[in-house]
């Protein structure tokens, strides 16, 4: 089965309650374009983590602010970008948690971005004009 090529841009309010709606829209896009369910699950979780980060930490005051999510299927890849006008922030600079640490030394930070890196084939950040652009790619085998 091959994916159909296409793209969608979704705008959501900077609010964690919007993430469930985002996930539904991403699922619909995925089903319509015949994205394999495992890849869709992974991209949805990665987007959840990235958008949550932006909503919780990106703005002084998230009221009235928006986050854009762009998803495209192209040449055997699912590509998703999160764009926001929050403060410049590169989540890839966050320290990776030490997965070998014993329980009492395991830290609470960095879990989300570790998941994103593990679930995706590539993750990149750029500051484009006044926007943070975080792009993830998942190869479809």
């Amino acid at each position: 089965m091959r994916m159909h090529e296409g793209s969608i841009t979704i705008h959501i309010a900077a609010d964690v309650k919007e993430i469930e709606r985002l996930n539904k829209l991403v699922r619909q896009f995925g089903e319509l374009h015949e994205v394999p369910s495992r890849a869709l699950y992974a991209v949805n979780l990665a987007l959840d983590e990235l958008v949550t980060n932006v909503v919780l930490y990106g703005f002084e005051d998230p009221t009235g602010k928006q986050v854009a999510i762009r998803i495209a299927t192209k040449e055997g890849e699912l590509i998703a970008s999160v764009l926001d006008e929050g403060k410049p922030f590169d989540p890839l600079a966050v320290k990776t948690p030490d997965l070998n640490a014993p329980l009492e030394q395991r830290e609470l930070g960095g879990l989300g971005i570790h998941l994103v890196r593990s679930l995706m084939d590539s993750v990149s950040y750029s500051r484009d004009a006044d926007k943070n652009v975080l792009t993830v790619r998942k190869r479809i085998r």
Partner: protein, 116 residues
């Protein structure tokens, strides 16, 4: 997400369903840590009906496991769906937490047998 609590002998069984995400995590944290603060020392989280977890939810498991370890309690997680178990493995929790396939096996581990 719904949270159900059920006491079986000295084990507090907490069952969660659906989505444990950023919106649901604070409520789950409050309930789970509240039970430990209230004196529960053997805590089992049954994730059978749980379909989705993100890092906000994972943090709650980590907090509870740390807390129970510090006070000499026991924390077990059971019945993870394959897609949820994959996330626990990815984040390294299968190395630091006791995760068992079924509620029966978890209760045996606590030394409590399920009623016939």
């Amino acid at each position: 997400m719904q949270i159900q609590e059920q006491k079986q002998a000295d084990v507090m069984i907490v069952t969660i369903d659906d989505h444990l995400d950023t919106a649901a995590a604070p409520g789950f944290e409050q309930r789970l840590l509240g039970l430990i603060d209230g004196g529960e020392r053997k805590v089992l989280v049954d994730c059978g009906p749980l379909e989705y977890v993100n890092s906000a939810g994972l943090k709650v498991f980590l907090l509870a496991a740390k807390k129970l370890e510090t006070i000499g309690g026991q924390f077990i997680i059971c019945s993870l769906a394959p897609s949820v178990l994959m996330i626990f493995e990815m984040i390294g929790f299968t190395r630091i937490m006791k995760i068992l396939p079924s509620r029966e096996e978890a209760l045996r581990e606590f030394g409590t047998t399920a009623p016939a």
